[in-house]
């Protein structure tokens, strides 16, 4: 095999929450496998190019990867405009996210060259969603949460779409959790990250948290001023080491 792995990428349709068809971008590494799988949960800026690229990045590293468009019900068009409309609608509900993400996990488990292990990965709101999924469902083997905002929520923040603070779901966490955070972030703040970790310890949940100095929110986002190359590359090495440990078979 050459040093750089080939891959096949395409858009597919999956039956999301309540049977609604939504589009998902998938990237499949070349070769017979079997391959572990990663389900990506996109962030508030939507089904963005960063997430499509990151889906391919996982395939490049030998993972079957899928990223569903959680905002598809709001309309078609530039993901940035779609995300703005979702914001005006008050975001998507946690329940709908669970149904859509479950469909992506099921797609993964149905692939003939899948090794039976699934990791879930998300950043920003997607980090929060990935954590919620791993607490509510039992069909993932490892969870990577990057700077998940609003894991810790005040009662006044709860509403119909987000009825339960994710931190209060910690007892149900079904798999090991990797958390990466920037110490200059304000949402989640370092104090909220400490509360998040304390709850994990309280319930004896396997986890590893890494807190980076000199980094704030979104420090993997190479197209943003938030990008911090040193911390991002160290973070990526931790993501691949973590998934390598928990998703190999």
């Amino acid at each position: 095999m050459s040093y750089y792995r080939g891959m096949t990428c395409e858009n597919i349709s999956i039956k999301g929450d309540r049977g609604t068809s939504i589009t998902a971008y998938v990237a499949k590494p070349s070769g017979p496998g079997p391959f572990p799988g990663v389900v990506l949960v996109h962030h508030l800026p939507g089904w963005s190019e960063f997430y499509i690229e990151t889906t391919r990045r996982f395939a490049h590293h030998g993972y079957l990867a899928i990223c569903a468009n959680l905002y598809e019900r709001t309309g078609q068009g530039n993901p940035d405009d779609v995300a703005a409309k979702v914001r005006a609608e008050g975001g998507i509900s946690d329940a709908q996210m669970l149904g859509d993400t479950e469909a992506a996990v099921k797609w993964m488990r149905a692939q003939p060259n899948h090794n039976g292990k699934v990791g879930i990965f998300g950043s920003c709101s997607g980090g929060r969603h990935a954590f919620i999924y791993a607490c509510q469902k039992k069909d993932v083997d490892a969870c990577v949460e990057l700077w998940g905002g609003r894991v810790v929520m005040g009662k006044e923040e709860l509403n119909e779409k987000t009825p339960v603070a994710p931190i209060d779901m910690t007892r149900g966490l079904c798999c090991p959790l990797l958390g990466l955070f920037g110490n200059d972030d304000r949402a989640p703040s370092p104090e909220q990250v400490n509360l998040h970790e304390a709850e994990l310890k309280k319930h004896g949940k396997p986890h590893e948290f890494h807190r980076y100095d000199g980094a704030g929110h979104g420090f993997f986002y190479w197209h943003r001023p938030l990008y911090r190359p040193e911390q991002a590359m160290d973070g990526w090495s931790k993501v691949f080491a973590f998934f390598g440990r928990h998703l190999a078979k």
């Binding site: 709001t74 940035d80 779609v82 703005a84 914001r87 609608e89 929060r128 304000r186 943003r224």
Partner: protein, 101 residues
């Protein structure tokens, strides 16, 4: 930042995208990390029509300082407009805003 700072208000008016104007239904004000501007956290203004496709949107990302200046300019213009309304039409403004020309 990954905030839930979002304010949505009804809007009557029109906005422009490329060479096309479209009617508005809502204005959205948010504070979160920028998605396009090469800035950190920004005030985002979206003027949208929720009945149309997502592309019916005029979006703006401003620094907090620029947003404050915009707010002050809006306040000045609105006070002046209310005075004009009162002068020209003799109604529609608070008595305190009606002064001798």
């Amino acid at each position: 930042m990954c905030t839930s700072i979002v304010e949505v208000v009804r809007a009557e008016g029109m906005a422009k995208r490329e060479d096309q104007w479209f009617p508005l239904t809502h204005s959205v004000v948010a504070y979160d990390h920028a998605r396009h501007a090469q800035l950190g956290d920004v005030i985002t203004l979206d003027f949208i029509n929720t009945a149309l496709e997502p592309g019916a949107r005029a979006g703006i990302e401003l620094t907090l300082e620029a947003a404050r200046e915009l707010r002050a300019a809006l306040d000045r213009a609105i006070v002046a407009a209310e005075f004009e309304e009162a002068e020209v039409r003799g109604k529609g403004a608070l008595p305190s805003l009606i002064r001798a020309a």
